[in-house]
């Protein structure tokens, strides 16, 4: 098989963290609808979802002078952030997250949030919806997810309102993104399909052909929508709703037919592959799948094809293995279900944390490599890295891992280790503390949506003002 590379002639190539010249992104801005030359750059919202929990003592930052938690020491099943609030900038990266040191001023850890509504695997499909899991397959999101809420706000002018990318993200247990209740937004795991879909029109030489294809598609879509309209009066309410859903989606496709792509200034990446094997759903493919999806993610931001992306690595209760790390047992059964005294399994979980942290860093670097205005796309973004559980083997839902990168144009003050105070009474068998929904509403505010709550309002009390600049 030929080596697989994502070729970009002048973009993002080179050492990690090096901002490469991308004059075209600047040049194209004035051409974009709704982007007057003087206007601020658009905001971007990125979610990086990982799964099956962490080895908490080696994941969270340490206080200055604190000794590293030994990898062969069993994690404490009682691990629990202290009752006292903390807001420091001289923290030391946890052993699993040392790779974040380089971007310490860009990253904020938020400790002490309980998952809203759900525990364990049930939180996976609700991490971004903040609703209660209703059980069963895709039934379980309970409502619109934060990324889609934000996409509805930020995505009007882009070719794609949002993108859902996956790396070995199976649909078991539901997706992370939801267009609405019972409307799953499934992730695409195959980079080739992402490429074909997202970059189809980018860099097209024959604009006449592009225009013609758009015209043809519009004609087809109009006819399909019209046909449903003719049927409507003869159908019952439930049937009408089903077909209305299809009509809505056809219209959504049609609306975006003519939305600008990056235009002539945006370069098209290319995926070279001798066969499709590298994109297959195989655990051993994960590193290349991740790298390529991150490349495509960055490129779609650079070309302003979308402003909201959710990337899901694995899935809750995943049966993937991590052979590239020498881990040949499964993420969930083998690592996350091992008892505390299974030092090998816990060390491997820490190793998995290290790897996911490196991918998060790589994501940061890619955004920092795209110049925009006086800075980079990263300055206009916030990235949420989270997980459906805290401690892997106990499937703990208290103290959900939250790492934020970027300030969303100065909305957040970054470079901190924030531990939220846990006070009040335990609720529903959960320790006292704030809910993850309070973070979701804060993120919503950072993207310019001024709503008082997100998700289940009974578990969305107030934004986390402490995180703001």
């Amino acid at each position: 098989m030929k080596p697989l590379t994502l070729n970009r002639r002048s973009l993002l190539r080179g050492a990690a963290g090096t901002a490469l010249a991308l004059p075209w992104l600047e040049a194209m801005q004035p051409e974009r609808r709704g982007l007057a030359q003087a206007a601020k750059a658009p905001k971007r919202f990125i979610v990086f979802m990982t799964s099956n929990g962490t080895f908490p003592e080696r994941f969270w930052p340490m206080l200055p002078g604190q000794a590293e938690y030994p990898v062969d020491k069993p994690p404490s099943s009682a691990f629990f952030s202290g009752p006292s609030a903390l807001d420091i900038t001289d923290h030391v990266m946890g052993p699993s997250l040392k790779s974040l040191e380089r971007y310490r001023s860009d990253v904020t850890f938020v400790e002490g949030l309980n998952s809203s509504g759900n525990v364990g695997h049930a939180h996976w499909s609700c991490s971004l919806t903040g609703q209660h899991n209703e059980g069963g397959g895709y039934e379980s999101g309970g409502g619109i997810s934060l990324d889609q809420q934000i996409a509805n706000h930020l995505g009007a002018d882009t070719k794609f309102k949002s993108l859902q990318l996956g790396v070995l993200n199976r649909t078991d247990g539901g997706p992370n993104s939801w267009f609405g209740q019972k409307m799953p937004a499934l992730a695409e795991n195959n980079p080739k399909r992402v490429f074909d879909r997202v970059f189809a029109e980018v860099g097209a030489v024959d604009t006449t052909a592009v225009d013609r294809l758009r015209r043809q598609r519009k004609s087809v879509l109009d006819a399909a929508v019209g046909q449903i309209g003719d049927l409507r009066t003869q159908l019952g309410a439930a049937d009408r709703a089903k077909l209305q859903n299809y009509t809505d989606s056809l219209r959504e496709v049609e609306l975006r037919l003519t939305n600008a792509t990056g235009g002539v200034h945006c370069e098209k990446p290319s995926i070279e592959t001798g066969s499709g094997e590298a994109w297959e759903f195989e655990s051993s493919n994960a590193p290349l799948l991740m790298k390529t999806q991150l490349d495509l993610l960055a490129m779609s931001l650079a070309c302003d094809l979308t402003r909201v992306i959710t990337l899901s690595f694995g899935y809750s209760a995943s049966s993937m293995t991590l052979p590239w790390l020498g881990i040949n047992t499964t993420y969930h059964d083998g690592l996350s279900h091992a008892p505390d005294n299974d030092a090998g399994a816990q060390a491997n979980l820490a190793k998995a944390d290290e790897w996911t942290a490196q991918q998060f860093v790589s994501l940061i670097e890619r955004l920092k490599a795209i110049p925009e205005g006086d800075g980079t796309v990263f300055d206009n973004s916030v990235i949420l890295w989270t997980n459906e559980m805290s401690k892997g083997n106990s499937h703990d839902a208290d103290n959900i891992p939250i790492v934020l990168a970027g300030t969303a144009q100065g909305f957040f003050r970054s470079g901190r280790y924030v531990r939220l105070e846990r006070k009040g009474e335990p609720r529903n068998g959960r320790p006292p503390g704030r809910w993850t929904n309070d973070l979701l509403v804060t993120l919503q505010h950072s993207m310019g949506i001024d709503a008082p709550s997100f998700g289940d309002p009974t578990e969305s009390t107030a934004p986390l003002d402490v995180l703001k600049a």
Binding site: M183, Q216, L243, S249, E252, V253
Partner: protein, 568 residues
Amino acid sequence: MANWRHLGSLAALTVAGNFGCQASVDERSDTAAGATTTNPASGAGSGGSAGVGGASTTAVDSAIAQAVVRRLTRREYNSTLHELLADTSQPANAFLPDDPSLGFDNTVAAQTVSPVLAEQYLNAAEQVARVAAPALLAQLPCAASSRDTACVESFVRNFGQRAWRRPLLDAEVTRLLGVYQAESVDGGFDAGFALTLETLLVSAPFLFRIELGEPVPESPGHYRPTAFEMATRLSYLMWGSMPDAELFARAADGTLRVPAQVGAQAERLLHDARAHDTVAHFHEQWLQLSSIEPTHVAKDAIVYPEASDALLTSMRTEAELFVADAFWNQPSGLSALFTSNASFGDARLAAFYGVPGPTGATFEPVTLSASERPGLLTRAGLLSLFAHPDGTSPTKRGKFVRTRLLCQPLPPPPANVKAMLPDRLPGQTTRERVAAHKTDPTCAACHNLLDPIGLGFEQYDGLGHFRAEEAGKLVDASGSIDGADVPSPAFVGAAQLGQMLASSATVRSCVARQWFRFAYGREDVAADEAALSHLAQAFAESGGNFPKLLLDLTQMPEFLERTAPGVP
């Protein structure tokens, strides 16, 4: 156990006595028709939640009041294109996956079309039309000199009737011709033709099974699918694809308005390889056979050095062949499924089981140990799937039996659940380790439904090998299964469990329920209990004959009837 389903009452069984007969059909549909007028909200496709109890049997949830628009699944889309255009590209393999809600890929309540899927439909139709158009153009009956709108119209009416599985209305033909005309102005005849073909494939009547129904003249106030809609119901139930020429002919001449003729056609379809594919598709979902593959099953190479992808593939093939044989070839298929030691193996699997016979990669009939390997539950495929990488999992094995074979859903985990197993101690057996589930009340609520069943499987290790000892101790394979309608819940070993399940009314009812869900594409609701009892009773009377059960599904009011068109 509040959420558990139960068999319908004896009263419901009396309705079932006259199986397949028009009188019982009418009796049932009276209830259904009344239901739709008393509760307009009942048809909102809300049947998806997992824990519908059997307690409130109210008519408002009537079976026939459900939504009937069904979207083609990925499998159905590919098969339909194959039948329609001899297209073998299987474009739906690249579509977003169907929601596996309820364990099946065809559940109506979960069928939505996201903008991404709509895009995928559009792109697939573009590709398929581009490839298929030249051959279709060559077959057009009109001369090259008369390639005009009239020529396209005749194509649209003829081909459209196959693509949309019903005759097209004039307004629909006019709209499609509009697409042709607009495109042919610049692009010429061929381009206009191809775009019209593309439009047919993106339109709802191709992608969805939309039914409008018609009144039953001899029975005022009652409705049924039209004959074309019935042809479609039959072909997708039996084949997962569009009707063939014979079905279209029986639709056109109205034959399919007669229930007995529906049954006759169902029987014809059953004797076709496509029906075997459909049944295999049912089994790979119900019994999770499709999960017996490397990305779902990983084994620790130190604990199970023998494990390999090839061995796992052989295990899956055995399970598929064994289940198919029980379904198609054994008159008492249900009993064979849980008790037969006749199986199939290649050389690899024969060596695994330690039986003589096969020497190559071809699967041949083999006879396994009657005491160690009777029935599907004792076979390596499921035993490997429902295990940990380095050991067994009584919880997973018990869950399979509880949810898939007894159809008893589990309550959600408690809010403060901790999923962690206690520390592993040297010399400890799996039974000793999972005992902690019993002592912790937050675990016990759920695990007491699972572990006592799964512990009965302890004679089989995580790869499915029979074992007498674990951790230097003799294996204790005593188990217990409550809620299964068996004479006594206690059993020793999976072989005995199989015997008990083979004659359990709960299992028969569950099999009927699983087929009901798969066939009708929806969650059963309280009002379906009578129909399900009826189906299970007939299944019992047939001695657990699977093909008969499948045919019976086409003689139910749920299949033969529908609600009034347009009723909200």
